[in-house]
Symmetry: C2
Subunit: 164 residues, 2 copies
Amino acid sequence: MRLNDLDERIVHALAEDARRSYADIGAMIGLSAPAVKRRVDRLRAEGAITGFTVRVDPAALGWETEGFIEIYCSRNTSPEAIKRGLARYPEIASASTVTGEADAIVQVFAADMRHFEQVLERIAGEPYVERTKSVLVLSPLLRRYAAGPPDGPDPEPSEAAAPR
Amino acid sequence: MRLNDLDERIVHALAEDARRSYADIGAMIGLSAPAVKRRVDRLRAEGAITGFTVRVDPAALGWETEGFIEIYCSRNTSPEAIKRGLARYPEIASASTVTGEADAIVQVFAADMRHFEQVLERIAGEPYVERTKSVLVLSPLLRRYAAGPPDGPDPEPSEAAAPR
DNA sequence: TATGAAAACATCCAACG
DNA sequence: CGTTGGATGTTTTCATA
């Protein structure tokens, strides 16, 4: 797979505003709308672009408390098992297995401290979780691209999803 | 500002695919297309939705190495100073000040380990940084919403931004 | 292999009920 | 909030380099 300069500029234009029309993007980079669409289609087929998503202000949606939870798992817990276990939490925005002492780092958005604590306790109670260590976000400094996913649409555990 | 169930479902539908048509979203939640658009417009005006962006596979774009860097700052370093200092790094995808021992957690995407090390060393060399602690991401498990930004358009990956 | 032009189709969106 | 219809965007087809 080869990404040339035009592809990069298309991705860049979409990163700024994913709902821009192909004609607009084409005008920005000197291509016609169909040409842009063909490249976007190719980028999606190749997996370079994995989707389009909305940028939300968690606080405006009532998710005012953000934190990171490090998870320490019992041995022989596969990444897939962790993923399946965590996918049920709508409060989890991202999760990754990592090097170092912890096995995974999970980013959580909760309505408030009480809600955050509930999520933390539920995660800590998962059978494969031995212990956790968490920090709260004081203030977000930078938020740029959305990375990933390989992530199926909508785990949707329902409930607990309507703060405020 | 009040978000009801319909608004949440709209945001959810857009989080899955921000280029879905208003008619499709309307069909999902039992509303007409114009009604959906009016709500999306209102959510944008209120700041709940801050934009639309593309989801990229960093590896496909040549950014194969991801990690988190905890930053321990010298005293009396303001969050604004940290933000200004970090904003110059195109490799930083997100950064937040946090509770606990570290002052900030920074998410970094680099082309490879060598590039990651360079970024780490440059950050560690910032005048306000006393020490750092970093972990590498082994595998991303979940990637959902894009949070934020308050972040001007175009961090401009510029140079250093074309691996492969 | 990649492009632009054009046509058919779908979506958007302001005005109205 | 739903419906309408003109404007706009999308996507396929086709011809060209």
